[in-house]
Amino acid sequence: MERAGADAGRARRFRPATRARSWWLETSRGPSRPPAMGVHLGAAVPAWSLRAVAFALAVAAGALVTNSGVTTALLVLAAVPVAVAPGTALPVLTAGLIGWGLLAGDADPLLASVVVLCVPAFLLLGRLTGGVGWQARIELGALRRAGQPFLVFQVLAQVMMHLAFVLPAAGRGSLWAGVAALAALTVLTGLLGRRLRATT
């Protein structure tokens, strides 16, 4: 009996080599990935690549509107949610910060062209990749469908901006015309919002 008890005691003794070996076996193998299913689409790109592009666009726009290292670093930091959490309100906040940076700096048509291109583009990519994970696949058809109105509005915005830069100032009358247009747009947006709520 004593002999058996001694054997059992030896068996229970702490054995670092054995523990280390079992720990290594468990950690080195890791949980095996389950198999994948097939969802057969047309040509598609992975969501992570679009997120990376969106991040790059946000960083580029942020870098263009800032002129000090600290603010650039802050805007790069603010661009991280564009890649990490594109489906949230954070990318819109990033766009707002870039807009504020643009307003704070001097007006430069070339720089503004790039910023006006980059900001709606990363917001568009954020909308596309927002509700799905990094591994998701985005059909090129979906990208094309979302890209068509984007291109039209880009052309319109760029043309208007360059016209505004090129044309001479028309005095106070044009300012009041702009304010009136803005007021009309505000009223229109409010009406649309009410209709939206009423419909849904």
């Binding site: 598609a44 766009a95 870039i98 006006v116 591994q135 901006m161 505000t186 947006t189």
Partner: protein, 457 residues
């Protein structure tokens, strides 16, 4: 499977983007900065465009099982279904998430400009009823002004049929029955194979008279009269009754670490029940194609068995029942063994991890049935186990070995479907083991085995 009508609700990010655009426009105008105003303009126009072209109808979606009855296997066709999407004009894209237990969920963003049909597929080594392809989807309008809340679709129940392996030859029962069939029995009766030449007795058919033998043996040359008449007696033809008994009380995978239930077996690994289905379907197909009668019973469920019958429709019935066999909780132990047709060949498919299947097999053997025990344990792996679990498994392993040896000792042929799953098997495949068991004087059950005609298939 069709979804309920969808409900369109405003998208949060569109409102935020529109608000930011308006703010930038206002700031740009107020500060006479066309660049700032131009930054806000596409955002405002986008939201306005999204609202103008918003979808006004419901989204209709249906999940249709298609080709989901493919046989399993590594190189086999996958299990399929198709998602049909009908989106109203104005829908820009659909976010889709397809999930199935045991698989990585798949997420895609689809172009939803027109009606779409999205094929879904997966590969599995499992057979039987498989619940697959739960689809969560969110249709989105232009610029995400609206998004539809749709109830999820699925999962659909797909029946994955067991793979049928071609077999060359199978053992026959000790006694064949019936008056017609593909086999030659040892009785004298209607058949093709000659038994002997015998004197005519009352009851013999006149067309059986062998006139040459009669003339040679009983013609009196002096008188020219015939004496006794002689008839050719043949061996009667007969068919075999085969009862397949599947032990569905447990379903274990190759990884012993999953046997306790803590983890699940990978969908690409066949479990013991998948192997049992495959083995039973292969044997049933072979026997029915040969013209024998095959029945099916489930050791784990006390329900009416499929009675022995023949024909191609019966083959389909057997395979359908096999595909639906699944373990159900903790079944009560049977007080009586399942009733069998007399003289039937009994083939029991089990892992023999407990005594019940072996006990029933031994009982049938003692009743005079020829019994084949098909071991359907998959090739086990013990890599992921700790020392205590490994010790427990070693005990189970030893008990299983004793159980299988006991079966052999009682004259029951043991066939390992995967060869050598855990060291108790042989290096022969199932095909070779069945051939060995089918020999007239081979294996354990050779005593008085019927003579297969034409060497079997």
């Amino acid at each position: 499977m069709r979804a309920q009508p969808s409900l369109w609700v405003p998208g949060g990010s569109a409102a935020l983007a529109g608000g930011l655009g308006m703010a930038l426009l206002a700031l740009g105008l107020a500060t006479s900065r066309p660049d700032v105003a131009a930054l806000g303009l596409p955002l405002v126009l986008g939201v306005a465009w999204g609202w103008v072209s918003r979808p006004r109808g419901p989204v209709e979606a249906a999940l249709v099982p298609g080709g989901g009855t493919a046989p399993a296997g590594a190189g086999a066709d996958p299990v399929r279904a198709a998602l049909h999407l009908h989106t109203p004009p104005g829908t820009s894209l659909v976010r889709l998430r397809v999930s199935t237990a045991g698989y990585q969920p798949a997420e895609v963003v689809l172009d939803a400009g027109s009606d779409r049909q999205v094929p879904l597929s997966l590969r599995t080594a499992r057979t039987g009823v498989l619940e697959a392809f739960r689809v969560d989807y969110v249709p989105v309008a232009q610029e995400e002004v609206l998004a539809a809340h749709c109830p999820p679709l699925g999962p659909v129940r797909l029946l994955v049929r067991p793979q049928v392996r071609p077999l060359r030859r199978l053992p026959l029962p000790f006694r064949l029955q019936g008056l017609v069939g593909p086999h030659t029995s040892r009785r004298v009766g209607e058949g093709l194979e000659l038994h002997d030449i015998h004197e005519f007795t009352p009851g013999d058919r006149l067309r059986r008279i062998d006139w040459r033998t009669t003339v040679r043996r009983s013609l009196d040359p002096r008188t020219g009269e015939l004496g006794e008449l002689y008839v050719r007696r043949t061996l009667a033809s007969a068919d075999a009754s085969v009862m397949l008994v599947v032990d569905s009380r447990d379903e274990v995978g190759p990884d012993v670490d999953t046997w306790a239930g803590g983890a699940s077996t990978r969908m690409t690994h066949a479990t013991s029940l998948d192997l049992a289905r495959e083995a039973a379907a292969s044997i049933a197909q072979h026997m029915l194609h040969r013209g024998d009668r095959v029945g099916l019973d489930d050791l784990g469920r006390q329900r009416r068995p499929v009675p022995p019958a023949a024909g191609s429709k019966h083959a389909e019935r057997i395979i359908q029942r096999l595909a639906r066999i699944a373990p159900e909780g903790s079944p009560k132990p049977r007080l009586r063994s399942p009733r069998l047709p007399s003289g039937a060949l009994v083939i029991i498919f089990s892992t023999f991890l407990d005594d019940e299947a072996g006990t029933v097999a031994a009982l049938w053997r003692s009743q005079g049935h020829r019994v084949l025990a098909v071991d359907v344990l998959p090739t086990v792996t013990t890599e992921n186990m700790d020392a205590l679990s490994n010790t427990a498994y070693q005990l189970i392993h030893l008990e299983r070995g004793l159980r299988l040896a006991d079966l052999r000792r009682q004259g029951i042929d043991v066939i390992h479907w995967v060869g050598d799953p855990d060291g108790h098997g042989t290096h022969m495949g199932a095909q070779e083991a069945l051939l060995l068991a089918a020999r007239p004087h081979g294996a354990a059950g050779a005593r008085g085995a019927a003579i297969p005609r034409g060497g079997g298939r």
